[in-house]
Subunit: 331 residues, 2 copies
C-alpha cells in the first residue's frame, strides 16, 4: 500500500519527466516503450490499491446484499464492508446511504438484523455498512475492552500512540470508503447521506456536521450525542485523542452543532425511552437538541416509549429512516 | 415432570376418592383439610409444569418480541421458544402462526433475521418460533453432526434408542407447545397456522397434512418436500425411526399429500432457484407438486430466480407469507 501511494503521487510526474526526456533526445521509440511500461506498472499498482474481494453475495429484496474485503490505505489493514445494491443499480446510478454501526458490531449486524433492504430496494438506494474499527492490527490492548479498540473505533482519527497509525475511521468513512464505492459501483457521487446507531449515530452526526453539504441527509438511532460528557466518549477520546479535552470537541456532535454553518440539515433521530444507555447518561440527546433549537437546526427527535437499544428497535423504525433519506437523496 | 404428569392424570380421581372417604366416614373436618392440602399440591405441580421463565423481552414493531424457557414434558428437557405479541394482543385474542426453523437454528434465527414482526403487527398475528430440537440431553452422539441430533430434530417422534425419550418434536410442536401458548397468552385456540424453512418447511407441511383442519393455513420456504428420497431425510429417519422405510412415510409431505383427505389446504411455497440444496436434490419440490396436482391440492409454488437458501431469501418474501396466513387466520 505504501508503494501504491507512492506510485499514485509520483506517477504522473514520472511520466512527464519521461516525456520530456524522450522529446529532447529524440529517442522516441524507446521512450514510448518505457512510458507504456511505466504507465502499465502505475495502473497495476493503483488497481491493486482499489481492488475488492467479494466475500459473499445473496440476492435480497430483488437486489443483492454483498460483502467485500479490501486493503485499506487509511487503516493499514484488511477491512470488510457490506453493500446492498437495489435492483435499480443494475441500470442506473444510485445514491448511497452510509450506515455506521455501534460498539462491538461488524459489517454483519446491520445487514442481517435491521431489515433495511426492502425499503432500500423500493427507493433505489445503495446502502453501505462498513466495519466499526480496524481489526487484527496486533496493537497491545486492542481486544481488552468491548468499548475501546477493536469494534470501537468511534469514527475519529486517533492522534495518540499506539492507535494513530491504524485508528483513522473518520477519514476511512468520509474519504477512502466513498472513493472506493464510487470507483467500483453504479453510484451517483453527488448524492450521499449517512445514518447510524449508538456509536455509529455519533459517527453519522459528526460526519454530517463536519462536512457541510457533503451528505444530503443524516439520521440516527440512539446516537451518542455529546461524547465529551459521557463515560463511553471520555474513555475513547482519552485513548485515541489524548488528555487535552479541546481536541475532543472536533468529534462531538453537540459542540459541532453549536458552530455549524452550512446548508440546512434536517436531522431525524429515534431514541428508545426505555434504552438502558439513555438512563445511564451515555447518549445525552437533550444536550444536542438544546443546541439545535438555539441554532435553528431542524431536528425531528422521536422518543419511542418502551423501546430499548437493540436491533429490534432499529428494525421497527428503519423504514422511516430510509424514507427520510430518500426524500433528500432522490429530490 | 414425571411427577407433574402423574399429578395431572391422577389428581382429580384422588380428590374424588378423598371426597368419598370423607363423606362415608363423616370425618368432614380432617378430610377437608387433607383435600385442601392435596388440591394445593396438585395446583403447584400443574403450575410448575406450565411455568414459563421469561428470558428476554424487546419492544418491536409496536408489540413485544419475547423469549421464554420452560420444562418440556414431551422432550424431558428445558426448551426455549420465541413469541411475538402484536399490539392487538394487549386487548384481543389473536391467532397464532407457528414458525419451524431449519437445521442448526435455535429460536433466535427467525426473530432476529426474518423481519416478520412489522407484518405480524399489521395483521394482529402472534408468531411462535420454537427451538429445532431438544438440547443438553447428554445423548451419545447428539452433537456429532449438524444435520442430526442437536439442532436437527426433524419434527418427528423418534422410536429408536437412544433418541426416543427426548426427540419427540412432532408431539412438542403440535400438542404441548400450542397448549402452553394457549394457557399463557391472549390467543384464539381455534385459529392457528404453520410455516417454516427447509427442515422446518418439511415440519410445517407434515404438521398440516397429518392434522386436517387443525391449521388454517400452511406455507414454507425451501421445504424438504420428500425426505424419504433425500440424503438429509434418509439419515435423520434412519436414526430416529429405524431402518424400516415404511415408518418414514408418516413424516413425508409428498407421501402424506397423496393420501390427504380433509378441508381444503392452500399451500404457499417459495423456493430460491439458485438454492444449493435444491440442485443437491435435498428439497425435491417437484415430487410434492406432482402429487398435489394429481390430488387437486392447491399449491402456489414460486421459484424465485437468483435466491439462495439463506435468511436474505426468507426476509425478501416473509411479508407475502404473513399475508397468506392472515387471509385464513383473520377470515
Amino acid at each position: 500500500n505504501m508503494l501504491a501511494e507512492w506510485a499514485f503521487r509520483s506517477g504522473p510526474i514520472f511520466v512527464k519527466a519521461l516525456l520530456f526526456f524522450s522529446f529532447t533526445l529524440g529517442q522516441i521509440t524507446i521512450c514510448s516503450i518505457l512510458m507504456l511500461f511505466f504507465s502499465f506498472l502505475l495502473f497495476i499498482l493503483l488497481w491493486s490499491a482499489m481492488a475488492l474481494t467479494q466475500v459473499s453475495s445473496n440476492k435480497c429484496a430483488g437486489g443483492f446484499q454483498k460483502v467485500f474485503e479490501h486493503d485499506s490505505t487509511e487503516l493499514k489493514c484488511k477491512m470488510k464492508f457490506a453493500i446492498y445494491l437495489p435492483p435499480k443499480a443494475e441500470t442506473d446510478k444510485c445514491p448511497v446511504l452510509y450506515w455506521l454501526s455501534g460498539l462491538t458490531c461488524t459489517e454483519q449486524n446491520f445487514i442481517t438484523k435491521a431489515g433495511s433492504q426492502l425499503a432500500a430496494a423500493e427507493h433505489g438506494i445503495i446502502v453501505v455498512a462498513p466495519d466499526t474499527s480496524p481489526r487484527g492490527c496486533n496493537i497491545e490492548g486492542e481486544d481488552e475492552s468491548w468499548d475501546f479498540g477493536t469494534g470501537a473505533g468511534f469514527y475519529v482519527n486517533a492522534t495518540q500512540d499506539p492507535w494513530k497509525t491504524n485508528y483513522r475511521m473518520y477519514s476511512y468513512v468520509t474519504e477512502e470508503l466513498p472513493k472506493l464505492i464510487n470507483a467500483n459501483f453504479s453510484t451517483d457521487p453527488d448524492r450521499m447521506s449517512i445514518s447510524g446507531h449508538s456509536m455509529g449515530g455519533h459517527g453519522a452526526l459528526i460526519c454530517a456536521l463536519k462536512n457541510p453539504g457533503k451528505y444530503k441527509a443524516v439520521s440516527a438511532f440512539a446516537p451518542i450525542c455529546n461524547p465529551v460528557q459521557c463515560p463511553w466518549g471520555q474513555k475513547a477520546f482519552t485513548g485515541y485523542l489524548g488528555a487535552d479535552r479541546s481536541a475532543w470537541e472536533a468529534y462531538d456532535a453537540t459542540v459541532l452543532a453549536a458552530s455549524y454553518s452550512g446548508p440546512q440539515l434536517d436531522i431525524l433521530i429515534d431514541q428508545g425511552r426505555d434504552d438502558q444507555f439513555l438512563s445511564a447518561s451515555q447518549l445525552l440527546p437533550d444536550n444536542l437538541i438544546a443546541v439545535c433549537s438555539e441554532k435553528k437546526i431542524p431536528v425531528v427527535f422521536r422518543l419511542q416509549p418502551g423501546y430499548d437499544h437493540s436491533y429490534f428497535f432499529i428494525y421497527s423504525f428503519i423504514n422511516d429512516h430510509i424514507k427520510h433519506h430518500a426524500k433528500y437523496l432522490n429530490a
